[in-house]
Amino acid sequence: MSILYDEGQQAIATESRRALEARVSKDDLLPLLQDSGKYHDGFWTTAKEQGWTALALPEAHGGLDLGLVELGLIAHQAGRSLSGAPFLTSSFGAAKAIELYGSDEQKARWLPGLASGETIGAIAFATGPDPLPATPSVALDGGRVDGTAAGVSGGLFADVAIVFAREDSAPALAIVDLGGAKRKAIGSFDNSRCIADLIFAGVPAETLVSGEAARAAALHILALQAVVTAHEQTGGAEALMEIARDYALTRKAFGQPIGAFQSIKHRIAELYGLVELARANAIHAAAREGQDDFITAAAAARLSATEAYDTAARDCVQIHGGIGVTWEIGLHLHMRRARTLALEQGSSFFWEDVLVDRLAGEGA
């Protein structure tokens, strides 16, 4: 059953929106694109101050014991204002992996820092196009990892990574303290994501999950992150839809607002549809955490959010005409973010397959 936000949840939405609108602006974000290795400090400071990093983690380890629904609300607002660092999602993923699969000792070591935001976490599962490769590129052997985890969002500043590795011929999930890792910054089209290759040469690592169970565990972590990202994407798409609507109301051509031309107004109406479907799926998925159909709901949320954000980016720029493709107006910040979020945690191809495997297996 989908949920209605209660008053506390609505307050989270309002407050996080207010905080982010005050702290994060396009003018801060544009310069970040031209440097790899910088993120929006104001965003991350806000996230820590407001307790967003602690939100969905257990109280016993410094968290606030709320869940995906609340974190989703924050992510939605972060998506609206383009945030300025990927750590909210990446640290959440790392913390959940440790919370769900770690020993008491591991939890005590990592969770308080992740909850306060002093520690930054990252997820290193993918090998190129494959979010959960049959043969991971990093090898785990005798408590050490070797190999390169390429293109890790947040990897440039993360203190700890959860790595999907191969152990003999089986998969494994490992915790790696990144103090011992080399990092190679990746100049990407969305530099505030702080993407890095993590290069391991005999770096000490602790096993979280071994064998085939590691694959299921990794998928579960990806799904948790995917629901957060779906909210972020929905927020971005919603912001673009509103920007397009506002522009269509003020910009004139041939003596009338361009929003009076059906090619514009119907396109914005279609965006409204995509945003509302994405929102509905995201809320539903967040409410299904812990239920049997969570992965299915997460996949649906992820797919509709990716479609909404990519489409909104394409259409909002197109509706703006020439001004839409300038650096200064910054719509390309959304274009870039839309593509980045579409790739983090696996492309639509991956989630389509995850979804259909379940629909076909369970007879829909």
Binding site: I3, A260, H266, A269, Y272, I283
Partner: protein, 401 residues
């Protein structure tokens, strides 16, 4: 178990008990007339069981419950394919309007009771040949005639008019003022002299809609249900009634699980089609869209339960569900290849892909075309400007035809 859950469970049990007498198997092979007769008996059974007029006033034969109970029952009822289609419009729009705007209350009560029991059927006479999406552009006229009125003109797309006893109608009573302002709302006796009903055969072969001709049809002024010249507002109210009727994310076509089953059964390139990325993509995309609609619908119900007004996103269901159903049905035919050729024009759009495909265009047009829905979303929800309308404010009889 909440009260609503108890209500739902009882409704489920009742519906299941009706299957032998009124379910798909009982209807198989019946002609339309026989099916209608069965439908009248089913409607009577509903009435007797307290499932007719669920959210209508008790003094008019209803149950006095909420909208949420009504759509909860309908969600259960929808699972079985009972012969209730003949009463959908009647009880959905005209009769509620009669309850709200009818002046002779004894007459109203009698009509409502007969309609609830399936004895009488009402139709809604709005669309006209020249009209399309432009309701206010209608041309059927009523002129004063003694103390009453005389109607002349033609309506079209009137569902079930051929079986209707009464109808509600919007007509032009003053062509000299702007088009929205010269309309008046009446009810009419469909058996009155001068009313001619002619069924229209649709592309898929069926004929539930009609042309209705009015030739000097005389009615007294007590048939009037709006102020003279105030008919447009009542017509709009009619269209707004039942916004959250039980929606269907399958667009009234087959459930997605039927497509999954088909894809498991047939082969593409020697492997089950369900393994082909093209098919997987369609399943995933359609599931995602429908899951979103279902979630919107569930939230709307929760809001109604909590006494709130659901958001406007409920308007999306018809737009995206039927459009997608059309393409998915085409794809299902592609998947079957030459096995898709055999065709039964009486098959149900709910479980037959060819039937779903051929009837889908009607779904994309009836009750607000895709384009009208997009305009409504753009204008009412997003505040975008109205289209250019050269006829705005111009007296009706001065608009070039």
């Amino acid at each position: 178990m909440t009260d609503l859950e108890t209500y739902r469970a009882k409704a489920e049990t009742w519906c299941e008990s009706m299957v032998p007498a009124f379910g798909k198997a009982a209807r198989e092979g019946l002609g339309v007339e026989e099916d209608l007769a069965l439908g009248r008996r089913y409607q009577k059974a509903k009435f007797d069981a307290g499932y007719a007029g669920i959210n209508w006033p008790v003094d008019l034969g209803g149950q006095g419950l909420g909208h949420i109970e009504k759509i909860t029952f309908e969600a259960e009822e929808m699972k079985h394919g009972f012969p209730n289609v003949y009463f959908g419009i009647s009880l959905g729009m005209p009769v509620p309007v009669l309850m709200q705007f009818g002046s002779d209350r004894a007459f109203v009560k009698e009509r409502v009771l007969k309609a609830l029991q399936g004895e009488e059927i009402w139709c809604q006479l709005f669309s006209e040949p020249s009209g399309g999406t432009d309701l206010a552009g209608l041309r059927t006229r009523a002129e004063t005639d003694g103390n009453g009125w005389k109607i002349n003109g033609q309506k079209v797309w009137t569902s079930w008019a051929q079986y209707s006893d009464y109808g509600v109608i919007v007509v032009r009573t003053d062509p000299t003022v702007a088009k929205h302002k010269g309309l008046t709302y009446f009810w009419v006796d469909m058996k009155a002299p001068g009313v001619t009903v002619r069924p229209i055969k649709l592309a898929g072969g069926d004929s539930h809609v009609n042309e209705v001709f009015f030739d000097d049809v005389k009615i007294s002024d007590d048939h009037r249900m709006s102020p003279v010249g105030g008919g447009f507002a009542v017509a709009l109210a009619t269209l707004m009634i039942e916004r959250y009727v039980a929606t269907d994310s399958a667009g009234f076509g087959p459930h997605l699980s039927l497509f999954v089953d088909l894809a498991k059964e047939v082969k593409l390139n020697g492997r089950p089609a369900i393994e082909d990325g093209r098919i997987r993509q369609q399943i995933a995309r359609n599931h995602t869209m429908r899951a979103g609609l279902d979630s919107i619908n569930r939230r709307a119900r929760l809001m109604m339960q909590a006494g709130m007004t659901p958001g406007p996103e409920g308007a999306l269901n018809k737009l995206v569900a039927v459009r997608s159903r059309q393409k998915l049905s085409e794809l299902a035919l592609d998947l079957q290849g030459t096995d898709a050729f055999p065709f039964d024009e009486h098959a149900s759009s709910r479980d037959d892909w060819a039937s779903s495909w051929i009837n889908a265009p009607t779904g994309r047009i009836a009750g607000g075309s895709d384009e009208t829905l997009l305009n409504t979303i753009a204008e009412r929800i997003l505040g975008l400007p109205q289209d250019h309308r050269p006829d705005k404010g111009v007296p009706f009889n001065q608009i070039p035809a």
